[in-house]
Amino acid sequence: MTTPLVGAPVWFVVCERVLTGPARGLHCLCGLTGDTIGPRKPDSAGGKLNLHYGSPQIAIGVTFAALALLLALVFAVIAAQAGSDVGAQRVHDVGYWLRKRWLALLLVIGVLVVGVSLFDLPFANGSDAGRTVVTVTGGQFFWSLSPNRVPAGSHVRFDVTSVDVNHGFGLYDPHGHLIGSVQAMPGYHNRLDLNLTEAGVYRIRCLELCGLNHSTMESTFAVTRH
């Protein structure tokens, strides 16, 4: 099953509908062709922008941006107050009172985030039964996949290894979104389970520095419509 991201559906609707404007703007501003990474080019058939910011990463990015802006605001307020003259005892009393609550808040967030994330670990487990096992071998500078196509809706287990150095198996869906990664390590087999429901050409990129042609070490994987 494709690893869902905790809370993604809720964040996602909000982010996609409301908050991805700046990201869209920046993306267009940069004059990107967007043919392989991130949002796609204008749909040639309908002539509409197919800005499918459908990845949880955008929700993560927007959440981070919101937190960063909040922090920037807090630091700006503190800087503005720094010039005033408040008694040290007053700062001490209020500051320590607030600090206990701040600690409690961080602990609660930590327990929730870390705790919930443990129910969503991407590590493959269980037997191969019911899964299509795709053997993936990385080498300087190629990917070898067997088989290299599966029908849509397949429960795929990628069995990933390397013949020489460490590589990173990064799988991008037909929209160009990174949907998961696992390391290809010599002498070891890392197993990645994904549920590939959408037909199309998936792209594989190397996500670990592996030498001279690291940035061009690519391959494709087809998910067919039955």
Partner: protein, 683 residues
């Protein structure tokens, strides 16, 4: 009338005079040497970073071969630069209360600079381009880009940088624990338990934590680097990629992470000087730094989340530790510093403004890091430019900014003034816009799934590199304006430190006037505190008895049956060597701890340091099958080889006893751990 050289004039908060001591000449000299060199190195590496960004933007056409050379140099050089700067800054603030050794600091400098020079040659001339992480076995698969000598030189360079940091950490740990009465008291644990009202100052506790984690990192790093060095000599040596990756990231992640904790120790001293409020150790502070001691050493494994063969418990511990590391930073360091600043009539100077800016960089970069350390999120962001974004945020916008803030502090303090308000505003404005623009672009790219370390960006994404490079130019301009302000400040500082104004009376005209004259004295005399030793690792009869028992057990590593059985594989054989080394080291500690022997050995702390540093390394250098296998044909030579293993251990053990109870025990434990890790990583 004489203008005082140590007067703080308009540089510090008026209330700070009460608790700000005079900076001694040696502190100023070493602080400036380290910070100046470190910042120069960072500036050079920053230019390389800009070149790489412009390459990704296809503005300039650096070939992939050169891109990866530059990338490798940039990574090692940047971390070394900030490490140097922050070691100097910490020495400057810590020397006032802890008698650190200037001689050892110079050794640290020499080792680090030789190491940097070696890495420079290995990358730019030798073509080594396996990245700062040099993930084994990549160095041995050069794809025609580098040769054996350049990879060896790169390992040696890193080893020397690590050795330099190790000398610094040993000195800090030895002197803080001597000064404050053992590890328990230096870390403030006695204060935590409420038995004593006195606690060490914050910077001493922080420095001790950094020193302990730094020594562990250096031991781990030396082990993998020496193993890889052995592999360059003997191609039959196998590498366990998973164990090697653990060791590499433990070393690399921890050292990079420690630069910010070094900086934290410094700001505990500097920020109060602008807030006019002293910063004192509290129980929460002690508890927080105890947490950091653990979290710094256990967080590294988040680099291995996507190695699913890594035990799940290791990933979970790392996730907890990565989040846990946030708590002391957010609740103690950043929060309490903002409390210190709030309503303090804060004295805004160039240095204090940069110090303040650094807090935001740490907080914002830290949030980006914590998000990435959550396993399901890392699954989508691993090795994308998100990683580049978060560590550049807290390195550029916190550690580097604090390094230049330290330099500004020393210059402004000596000059007795700050620079103009308009220039300060331009500096900070450009650094903020350029810095956050640069890292913000990486954050956006990371969210879109753009991989990191690409010489050629995926099609359709080079526009981000253009935007990023433009912001980088603004950032560079900000730093340029900052450095230009240093010139008049340095002149004024030099003037105030070397000249005085003397009152004169002109009898012809009957007027009084002041004239400049050379200062008679050049500040306080140089102080090179002789390291003093406190205690020995085995301090009681029971402990000596335990040491003796351990030696008897370890004798088993010399049993012929054990040696024969260990020939089954390199790993078992190396484990046997580890046992022999342990026997020697334990024996050395036992002998050196005996009162009569200890007295005869004398107080040769620096010799002890040399022994604990060099002997374990030599032991691992000769632990290469190509060296020991020919010796195995002759029983006498074979026996001598194994005795040599114990001999290296003996030297290490004896050396450890010269470093006192705390440092001696820690160095003994780490040196014994090194061959064990070696056996796990090399097969």
């Amino acid at each position: 009338m004489e203008s005082t050289v140590t007067g703080i004039g308009g540089a510090l908060h008026p209330r700070a005079i009460a608790f700000t001591g005079t900076a001694r000449e040696i502190e100023r000299r070493l602080g400036l040497l380290f910070a100046g060199t470190g910042i120069a190195l960072v500036a050079g590496m920053g230019v390389l970073g800009l070149i790489m960004r412009l390459t990704q933007a296809t503005v300039i056409g650096l070939s992939p071969a050169w891109f990866y050379r530059v990338l490798t140099l940039h990574g090692v050089g940047m971390i070394t630069g900030v490490l140097l700067a922050m070691m100097g800054a910490l020495w400057y603030v810590l020397h006032a209360t802890v008698p650190l050794s200037a001689g050892r600091m110079r050794v640290t400098y020499a080792l680090t600079m030789i190491g940097v020079f070696a890495v420079l040659i290995a990358t730019l001339i030798g073509g080594f381009g396996a990245g700062w992480a040099f993930l084994p076995p990549l160095p041995f698969h050069p794809a025609g880009q580098w040769s054996v000598w350049s990879e060896s030189l790169f390992f040696v360079g890193n080893l020397l940088v690590g050795a330099g940091f190790c000398v610094f950490c040993i000195d800090v740990l030895e002197q803080t624990t001597n000064t404050y009465g053992g590890l328990f008291r230096t870390l403030g644990w006695h204060y935590l338990r409420g038995r004593d009202a006195e606690a060490p100052p914050p910077q001493a506790i922080a420095a001790t934590v950094v020193a302990i984690d730094g020594l562990i990192s250096c031991a781990v790093g030396s082990t993998i680097l020496l193993g890889l060095l052995g592999r360059t000599y003997d191609h039959a040596v196998g590498i366990d990629a998973l164990v090697a990756k653990n060791l590499v990231y433990f070393f690399g992640h921890s050292i990079a992470n420690l630069t910010i904790y070094l900086a934290a120790a410094v700001i505990y001293v500097l920020v109060p000087r602008y807030a006019g409020r002293p910063y004192e150790t509290t129980k929460v502070f002690v508890a927080g730094w105890t947490g950091s001691l653990v979290f710094i050493a256990t967080a590294y494994s988040h680099h291995l989340y996507m190695d699913f063969v890594q035990p799940t418990w290791a990933a979970v511990i790392s996730e907890v530790a990565s989040y846990g590391a946030l708590i002391p930073v957010a609740v103690i360091t950043i929060y309490s510093m903002t409390m210190l600043i709030w309503g303090s009539s804060f004295h805004w100077t160039l240095a204090s403004t940069l110090l303040y800016v650094g807090f935001a960089g740490w907080a914002i970069g830290g949030v980006g890091a914590v998000i990435d350390s959550i396993i399901p999120i890392n699954f989508r962001l691993h090795n994308t430019t998100w990683v580049v974004a978060h560590f550049h945020t807290y390195l550029i916008l916190c550690v580097v900014v604090w390094a230049v803030a330290f330099l500004a502090h020393v210059l402004e303090r000596d000059a007795g003034r700050t620079s103009s308000r308009a220039l300060r505003a331009w500096t900070v404005g450009l650094i903020l816009v350029g810095g956050y623009g640069l890292t913000g672009t990486w954050f956006v790219e990371g969210a879109l799934g753009v991989p990191r370390r690409y010489a050629i960006q995926p099609s359709g994404t080079s526009g981000y590199s253009v935007v990023g490079a433009s912001f980088a130019l603004l950032l560079a301009l900000g730093f340029l304006i900052l450095f230009l302000q240093f010139i008049p400040l340095a002149r004024a500082a030099w003037e105030r430190r070397h000249h005085v104004l003397v009152d004169h009376f002109d009898s012809w005209t009957g007027t009084h006037y002041q004239a400049r004259a050379l200062r008679a004295d050049d500040g306080p005399a140089l102080e090179t505190a002789a390291p003093s030793r406190r205690g020995v690792p085995l301090a009681s009869g029971a402990q000596l008895g335990f040491g003796l028992a351990a030696c008897i057990v370890a004798l088993a590593s010399f049993f012929p049956q054990v040696i024969d059985a260990s020939e089954v594989s390199n790993r078992y054989h190396h484990l046997d060597h580890a046992g022999q080394f342990f026997l020697g080291a334990m024996l050395g500690v036992l002998l050196g701890s005996l009162p009569a022997v200890s007295r005869r050995l004398g107080d040769h702390s620096s010799l002890g340091l040399l022994a604990v540093l060099v002997a374990p390394m030599l032991m691992m250098v000769v632990m290469v099958p190509r060296i020991y296998e020919p010796l195995e044909r002759d029983p006498f030579e074979h026996a001598l080889y194994h005795l040599a293993m114990a001999g290296f251990g003996l030297l290490t053990g004896l050396g450890a006893t010269r470093l006192g109870l705390v440092t001696g025990r820690i160095m003994f434990a780490l040196s014994v751990g090194m061959p064990l890790m070696f056996a796990a990583a090399m097969k």
